[in-house]
C-alpha cells in the first residue's frame, strides 16, 4: 500500500469500501516509520500499542456496520508539547524527559472522539523555542526533501512526518511561525488558527497570549477537516471562544459556497472579480531570498490573471514586529517556565544526582533549571526575566505591548479594504543543518514574516506554491479574525491554480 498520497477522504473511502482495514493501514504507517525514521528523525516516541488498539476499535465499528466519523482510523502524529494521556510528553526538553501526561489535551480529546489513530509524538525545538528543531534536547529532524537541510521549527517533527509520508496529518503549535515555517520547509499545509479558536488546554505553555494549536496536512481539504474537529470554546481555556466563523468573504452573485464538486467550486471563485488581495510591500524588501520573492510574485500574477483584485498595501510597523515579538514571547515564557522547579514534576537535580550535596531549596531550583534547560530556553528565560525586571518593565515589556497595538492596527486598517493578505512564509529556503545554530539573532530572523499574525491574533495559513530545485516554497494567506472558512476557500482555489 502506498500511503504517501493518502488524504483523509481517501482513507475514509478506503475504509468504507473495505479496500483496507484501519489496522492494516496503521501497520503500514508503523512500518514506514520504522524504515524511514533513522534518516528523518521526525518522531520522539512511537506509540504502537495505542495506535493499534485505536485502529482495531475503528475496524470493530466498521464490522458492526456502524457509521464512522470522517477522521476515524486516520493515522496522525502529535507534537510532543501536546498532552496525550498515558504517553510521555517531553516538550523536547531534558527537564520533562520522563514526564508522562496524566490527562488528554482538549484537542486530543476531540480527536479521540473522532476515532483517529495516534501513531506517536513528534520532535520539536525545546519548549517550541526555535525555527529549525535543532534545539530539541533529543535529536535532529531532517527535511524530507533534502536530508542535509533542516525541517524548520519548532513543529519540525510534525511537518517532516507529514511531508515524509509517515502519517496522514499532524498537530503542531504556533507561537511565532512554528506551524507555518516548517510546513513551508517540508512542502505541506499548515494553519495557525485565530487566537482563541482552538483550546490550549493540555498544550505545554510557551507564550500564552500567542500560542495556538493547529493542523499540518497534505492539502487544504484535510486542514479544514482537522481544524473543524479541534476548534471550539473550552471551559478549561478561558481565552478560547466559540467562533462565529465567517465564510462569506467572497461576495457577489457567485458565492463560492455554491456547488459541492471541485469544478463548480473553481468556477464560482474565478467569477468573483471583487475578491481583494493585499500585498504588503514591507514583506518583499531587504532580507528575502530573491528566488522566493520571484516565486511569490509569480503566484500573485496567477491569482490576478484569474480575476482577483491585487492591491499593494502597507503594514508600516512590520519592521518592529520581530523585536516586539521577542520581548512579548520571552516575557511570557519566563513566567510560564517558572513551574519547572524540580519539585512538582519533571526532572530534579537532587534526585538524579543522589550524591550531590544540595542543602537548600534555592540550590534545588538553580541546579535543576541550570541542568534541565538547554541553551536557547535559558537565553529566552533570561531575556524575558530581564524585560520584566524592575527598571526595565516600561522600557521593554510595556513598550513592546504598545508597539503590538500598532501592529494589530495595521492589520485592522488594511482588512477594511482587502479580504486577504498574501506574503511569503519564510525569507529563506530550508537551510543547512548547523548553519544558524550558533547565531541566535540570525535564527530569529526566520520568523520575520510570521510573528505579526501571532501578535495580532489573526489566522494565517502556509500553502506550498512551488519549488526551488528540491526545496519547497510556501505562500502565506493571512485573513481576518475567525475567517478560517474563507481562508480554506481561497486555499483550495490557489491549490488548483498552483497546479497541485
Amino acid at each position: 500500500m502506498e500511503v504517501e498520497f493518502l488524504t483523509i477522504s481517501k482513507i475514509h473511502q478506503g475504509l468504507l469500501k473495505k479496500e483496507f482495514s484501519a489496522e492494516e493501514l496503521t501497520r503500514t504507517y508503523l512500518e514506514k516509520i520504522k524504515s524511514n525514521e533513522e534518516k528523518l528523525g521526525a518522531f520522539l516516541e512511537v506509540c504502537e500499542d495505542l495506535a493499534l488498539s485505536q485502529a482495531r476499535e475503528v475496524d470493530e465499528l466498521i464490522f458492526q456496520g456502524r457509521e464512522i466519523p470522517l477522521l476515524a482510523g486516520v493515522p496522525c502524529a502529535i507534537k510532543d508539547n501536546i498532552l496525550v494521556r498515558g504517553i510521555k510528553c517531553t516538550a523536547g526538553s531534558k527537564i520533562l524527559e520522563n514526564y508522562v501526561a496524566p490527562y488528554d489535551a482538549t484537542c486530543i480529546k476531540k480527536l479521540k472522539k473522532e476515532k483517529v489513530v495516534i501513531l506517536g509524538k513528534t520532535n520539536l525545538d525545546e519548549f517550541a523555542m526555535g525555527s529549525s528543531t535543532e534545539h530539541s534536547a533529543f535529536k535532529i529532524t531532517r527535511n524530507p526533501h533534502d536530508l542535509e537541510k533542516v525541517a524548520g521549527g519548532s513543529s519540525g517533527g510534525s511537518a517532516a512526518a507529514v511531508g515524509g509520508g509517515e502519517c496522514c496529518f499532524s498537530l503542531g503549535s504556533d507561537t511565532g511561525g512554528s506551524i507555518r515555517q516548517p510546513a513551508a520547509f517540508c512542502g505541506v499545509v499548515g494553519l495557525k488558527p485565530t487566537y482563541g479558536a482552538v483550546s490550549r488546554y493540555g498544550l505545554i505553555a510557551f507564550a500564552s497570549s500567542l500560542d495556538q494549536i493547529g493542523p499540518i496536512t497534505k492539502n487544504i481539504e484535510d486542514c479544514e477537516i482537522v481544524f473543524n474537529a479541534i476548534k471550539g470554546k473550552d471551559p478549561r481555556d478561558s481565552t478560547s471562544v466559540e467562533a462565529n466563523l465567517k465564510s462569506q468573504i467572497f461576495r457577489g452573485p457567485h458565492s463560492a459556497s455554491s456547488g459541492m464538486g471541485q469544478e463548480s467550486n473553481l468556477k464560482s471563485i474565478t467569477k468573483i472579480s471583487n475578491l481583494r488581495v493585499g500585498i504588503p510591500k514591507e514583506y518583499f524588501g531587504e532580507g528575502i531570498d530573491k528566488r522566493i520573492r520571484e516565486m511569490i510574485e509569480e503566484a500573485i500574477k496567477k491569482i490576478e490573471k484569474e480575476g482577483a483584485k491585487i492591491e499593494e498595501i502597507s503594514l508600516p510597523h512590520t519592521k518592529y514586529a520581530l523585536a516586539c515579538y521577542y520581548i512579548v514571547a520571552t516575557s511570557e515564557a519566563s513566567a510560564n517556565l517558572a513551574r519547572y522547579d524540580g519539585i512538582r514534576y519533571g526532572m530534579s537535580y537532587e534526585i538524579s544526582n543522589l550524591k550531590s550535596q544540595i542543602s537548600n531549596l534555592m540550590d534545588v531550583y538553580l541546579k535543576t533549571r541550570g541542568e534541565g534547560f538547554g541553551q536557547e530556553v535559558k537565553r529566552r528565560i533570561m531575556l524575558g526575566t530581564y524585560a520584566l525586571s524592575a527598571g526595565y518593565y516600561e522600557a521593554y515589556y510595556l513598550r513592546a505591548q504598545k508597539v503590538r497595538t500598532l501592529i494589530k492596527q495595521d492589520f485592522e486598517k488594511n482588512f477594511e479594504k482587502v479580504d486577504f493578505i498574501l506574503t511569503p512564509v519564510s525569507p529563506f529556503l530550508p537551510f543547512k543543518i548547523g548553519e544558524k545554530i550558533d547565531d541566535p539573532l540570525k535564527m530569529y530572523l526566520s520568523d520575520i514574516f510570521t510573528v505579526s499574525s501571532n501578535l495580532a491574533g489573526v489566522p494565517a495559513l502556509s500553502l506550498p506554491c512551488g519549488k526551488v530545485g528540491e526545496l519547497p516554497v510556501g505562500v502565506q494567506i493571512i485573513g481576518k479574525p475567525f475567517s478560517e472558512p474563507a481562508i480554506f476557500q481561497l486555499g483550495k482555489f490557489l491549490e488548483k491554480i498552483f497546479g497541485k
Binding site: 514526564y99 512538582r344 537565553r379
Partner: protein, 96 residues
Amino acid sequence: MITKKEVQHVAKLARLGLSEKEIEKMQKELSVILEYIDLLKEVDVSEIKPTFHSVLIENVMREDEAKRESPQIINKLLDEAPSKEEGYVKVKEILK
C-alpha cells in the same frame, strides 16, 4: 551592553544556575539581541495603549467550587513529583 553583574542578577531572579562560561556567553548574546530590540525605541508610543491580548476578553467568571478528582488521578499527579512522603510533595527545609 548588559553587564556581567546584570546577567548574574537576572540569572538569580530566573532561578537559573549558570556556569561562569555560560554567563560570559549569555552576556555577549543578550547584548546583541537587546541591541536589535532597541529598534522599538524609535516608535512613538506616547498615545498608544498596550495590547496584552489580541482578542478582546472580559473577565471570565465561574463559581468558586472545588472539583473533586478521583484518588487515582490524585495519585497519578503526585507520582509525577520527584520527591514525596506519605502523600505529600517533599521539599528542602525553608525555615531553620
